[in-house]
């Protein structure tokens, strides 16, 4: 049976190849042989083509009448099986997976057929942070969290740690922004009988152009937008042109939210920042507030990139908790559970400790 997936194996010892974080070469962890990314890419490009053709042929056979009665058409469209080229096991993954790992032999596996019909990423930001660093970062993340339940740290075991390349759209835009502000200046005159305040009101207009580069918006439906926005920023100076070699040993998803669908999220952030830039130019007034703002996009372009994210999953009280680490910068994000009893205790302390101080201040003030 021909393979429908491609394993990046060392030509020297046939061990699985992985792109090690922080390296610019693909390294065999077993025999230590290093390969240029370009070499690996060329070496396996033919293999990928063949695997893609085979997968296509196999997918063509995915007719509902042969798919088995227990799967609906939607399910069969979503879940796909692939054959591990190393151990021959059948791998099941969702429709967006383009790189994964064999759950039986651990072999890094690419699914080239998924590349077809989709945009090839322009860039990839390689992983720099290792699994050990991700675990360490999670431990540090727990530190100093006074409300963390004792049972959470005592019994906590990380259920799963996955390195994943997440699809991102990087938006470039040049905009023209115009805004209208209401500004005021006060003149205070102190007379023997009264305090007279004369407030002069101004209508202030500002218009300007500015350029934004590479605003990231994730193109993955299953990744929480808030998590993906919290994990920013990425250092784009380390971004390199995409080759599949960087994906070896990592999970990777293709986008399932199109660039067009992601535009509103980028635009919203641009509008907010453009308004802020114009706001900074309103000077010479004691106070001002924005009345209206309009942002027109003059030039807009988008690039497609894969960015590295470590995904850590743990469980507490039968509830999953997901944490993520920027695979490049190490920025760690997540939401921890909190103990209601501890929260009440700290609230009581924070209420009672300042009580006498506030009492004496209030008593002094009210006489």
């Amino acid at each position: 049976m021909a393979d429908t997936s491609v394993s990046y194996k060392c030509p020297n010892c046939s061990a699985p190849l992985s792109f090690l974080p922080g390296n610019d070469k693909v390294t065999c962890e077993y025999c230590g042989t290093e390969f240029e990314v370009k070499t690996i890419e060329e070496m396996f490009s033919r293999q990928e083509e063949r695997a893609a053709q085979e997968a296509e042929a196999k997918e063509a056979k995915w007719d509902t009448e042969h798919a088995g009665s227990e799967f609906t058409e939607d399910e069969s469209a979503y879940l796909k099986t692939f054959t591990c080229s190393s151990c021959g096991a059948e791998l099941v993954c969702d429709e967006n997976t383009i790189a994964t790992e064999c759950c039986y032999c651990g072999n890094p596996t690419m699914i080239p057929s998924r590349f077809k019909g989709m945009l090839k990423p322009d860039y990839v930001i390689p992983f720099k942070k290792t699994k050990e660093e991700a675990v360490e970062a999670l431990k540090k993340f727990y530190e100093g969290r006074k409300l963390l339940p004792d049972a959470f740290t005592a019994n906590n075991r990380v259920e799963d740690i996955q390195p994943m390349y997440v699809p991102f759209w990087l938006f470039d835009s040049e905009v023209t922004a115009s805004a209208v502000f209401k500004a005021e200046n006060d003149l205070v005159i102190d007379t023997p009988d009264a305090i007279v305040t004369e407030t002069s009101v101004y209508d202030v207009e500002r218009i300007g152009t500015m350029k934004f580069e590479r605003i990231p918006v994730d193109g993955s439906e299953k990744m929480d937008d808030a998590y993906m926005e919290s994990i920013e920023p990425f250092d784009y100076s380390e971004m390199v042109p995409f080759t599949t070699a960087y994906l070896t040993g990592y999970l990777a998803d293709k986008y399932d939210v199109s660039a067009e669908a992601s535009v509103p999220r980028a635009d919203k952030r641009v509008e907010h920042s453009a308004a802020g830039v114009l706001d900074e130019t309103v000077t010479g007034y004691m106070r001002h507030q924005m009345e209206s703002c309009a942002v027109r996009k003059d030039v807009g372009s988008v690039k497609y990139a894969l960015v590295p994210v470590w995904i850590l999953t743990t469980r507490y009280n039968n509830q999953p908790y997901t944490f993520m680490m920027n695979g490049q910068t190490g920025k760690f994000i997540g939401s921890l559970p909190w103990d209601k009893g501890k929260a009440t205790k700290y609230q009581a302390l924070a209420t009672l400790i300042p009580l006498p101080i506030i009492y004496f201040i209030a008593k002094f003030l009210i006489g």
Binding site: L147, L148, A194, V201, E229, S230, G276, G334, Y359
Partner: protein
């Protein structure tokens, strides 16, 4: 010079009027009475009771506690008038003296304390708790009741002093108002601390700005227009001092203390 002479003459004549009143009621001449009703505000039967009550208080605490009503202070400041009377007729009390003067022409009251009494009944208590004890009756014309309440409060304050060895100070007393405010603010503080701690358990937030992706050097301000629209004026009148119905501390002229006001 003429002005000083006029004031001195007025003062002497007023003191003579008061001393005549006291002399008329002190047959024995040993001690001036504790209540002299020059303005005839209290009925004879009430006057007897009042005198008895005041005398009891004086005996109990070894002080002079007196009330003087006059139709007029003849244009003299009521504080100066009260202090002059106190120095003249109540200076010999071993543990201090306190005198309340009521002037009916301008409806003013003043309570003066000598230097010894001032350490036992603080000025702020005179214009605070002591005034509060009688001012309503005074306003309503229940003079006997007002004077009795004045005496009772002095008795209470002296008892406090004797028991605690220090004058009653409202700033040391428990304040329910301050406690309420403190409780409310503390609850708000405690709530905000809890909220802050709960919020610190997550650092996942949506990004609203693209500021870090803005190329600052590309910003070009194409135009700006600052247009004057109008001016509006707000006038806040300054508060004027008004002690009507209230009490004000008299300061400490010649070691005297106390305070007074209108009714």
């Amino acid at each position: 010079m003429k002005k000083i002479f006029a004031v001195v003459t007025l003062l002497v004549s007023l003191l003579l009027t008061v001393s005549t009143g006291f002399a008329a009621t002190t047959a024995a001449g040993q001690q001036y009475p504790s209540f002299v009703d020059g303005a005839a505000l209290v009925k004879p039967v009430d006057k007897t009771n009042l005198l008895s009550n005041l005398r009891q208080i004086e005996t109990k605490h070894g002080i002079r506690c007196a009330v003087l009503t006059v139709k007029s202070t003849q244009g003299m400041n009521i504080r100066d008038y009260a202090q002059s009377v106190q120095d003249q007729y109540f200076a010999n009390a071993p543990k201090g003296s306190i005198l309340m003067v009521i002037s009916m022409d301008n409806r003013k009251w003043h309570i003066t304390t000598d230097s010894a009494m001032r350490t036992k009944i603080l000025d702020k208590v005179v214009t605070g708790e002591l005034k509060d004890a009688f001012i309503n009756d005074l306003k309503k014309g229940n003079y006997a009741s007002a004077f009795n309440k004045y005496g009772s409060k002095v008795d209470e304050l002296m008892s406090y002093y004797e028991k605690n060895g220090e004058a009653y100070d409202p700033s040391n007393a428990f304040s329910f108002g301050a406690a309420g405010i403190a409780g409310l603010l503390s609850l708000l503080f405690g709530g905000s601390v809890k909220k802050s701690m709960v919020n610190s358990m997550s650092n996942v937030t949506n990004a609203v700005s693209a500021g870090q992706y803005l190329k600052r050097d590309t910003f070009n301000l194409l135009g700006g227009n600052d247009r004057y629209l109008y001016t509006h004026t707000a006038v806040v009148p300054k508060a004027k001092s008004n002690n009507s119905g209230g009490g004000s501390s008299s300061g400490g002229t010649g070691g005297h203390g106390g305070g007074g006001g209108s009714f």
